[in-house]
Symmetry: C2
Subunit: 168 residues, 2 copies
DNA sequence: GCATTCTTTCATTTTTTTTTGAATCTTTAG
DNA sequence: CTAAAGATTCAAAAAAAAATGAAAGAATGC
């Protein structure tokens, strides 16, 4: 397989993985493109490489920057902006985990806490079933939060070596 | 807050969380509805509760069964089918992790392995950047696989107590 | 066998998400 | 200050995903 073909395959694979995780396919493709590019790229280069419009590049790049996965790079003597992705995938993983915690897990925890306050009769099976479900979900979500906090702080070797020891 | 209102809020929250994770909102709402229902429900009851069509209930229920989150229940003397969701959220988490591993992680691992075989000059920065990226992603993905395997086999208390010890 | 009840399918419609590209805004060099 | 290069915005269009509902398919009991 040739390099260019492999890059294309990787970009496609990264894009489809992303859609399965609720992430815009194009955003993931831009990310993939930058991941395999040794140099920072301009908006124009990205437009050409992925055959998408200027506006699309701009919006998805903003989103990637917002997620903390891409940064703007200014080159000496160049007027335009360039973009570069964090290449260390463990760092990327931690960053995504942190963001998803902030954006999704924390709001859900708030809702779950407020839903514990429902009024009702403890003997009513509907009430019992509901409060038990909420408590169960809340407990698992709280534990997930701890897991993410651990992951967020760990070095890759640390984290997985520890899991490995547990596994043994 | 009244029970019915709380159930509705939970169903909505579960639905929006799901869309952020690339899962059909209605499928998640059906799941949420069954999670907070003490009794197994018929297709008709689900249709009414969520105000969706028969076909929609059928398709999403099939998908939930496929994910191993819901099962068919046959009641004595009743001709129609009923549906019931696994209530233990830790079991649900493990099941989802197993399925996502099978459906997403394993195919990606295959692609990443095949992409290591790209031909090229080790001094070419584009080649170097690409193979390094692939190796890095592959290593993290392999470790993620191990993590999922651990989670899949663990009791909730086990898993999180161990993480907790690591955290200290 | 056949009528009834219930389930499944899938072409069509509806809704949601994503993309485009022209207009506008910003920055910089001269 | 002004013109050009570049970046951003967002209404409209296109594409993708999800929902509907009528028709077809099973299962059941008489």
């Amino acid at each position: 397989m040739k390099l260019e073909e492999a890059k294309q395959q990787f970009i496609q694979a990264w894009g489809s993985l992303a859609t399965q995780w609720g992430i815009n396919r194009t955003m993931a493709q831009v990310h993939a493109l930058l991941l395999v590019s040794p140099e920072a790229m301009s908006a124009e280069e990205v437009m050409e490489a992925l055959d998408i419009s200027r506006g699309n590049v701009n919006m998805n790049m903003r989103e990637l920057i917002d997620w903390g996965l891409v940064e703007r790079v200014y080159k000496q003597g160049e007027r335009k902006e360039f973009f570069s992705a964090e290449k260390d995938i463990w760092k990327v993983t931690r960053q995504v985990a942190r963001e998803r915690k902030r954006r999704e897990l924390e709001p859900v925890l708030k809702v779950l806490e407020s839903l514990q306050k429902v009024e009702g009769d403890k003997k009513d099976p509907a009430y019992k079933s509901f409060t038990e479900a909420m408590q169960g979900i809340h407990r698992v979500a709280k534990n997930a939060e701890k897991g993410i906090d651990l992951l967020s702080k760990s070095e890759e070797s640390m984290f997985f070596n520890l899991l490995l020891k547990i596994l043994k």
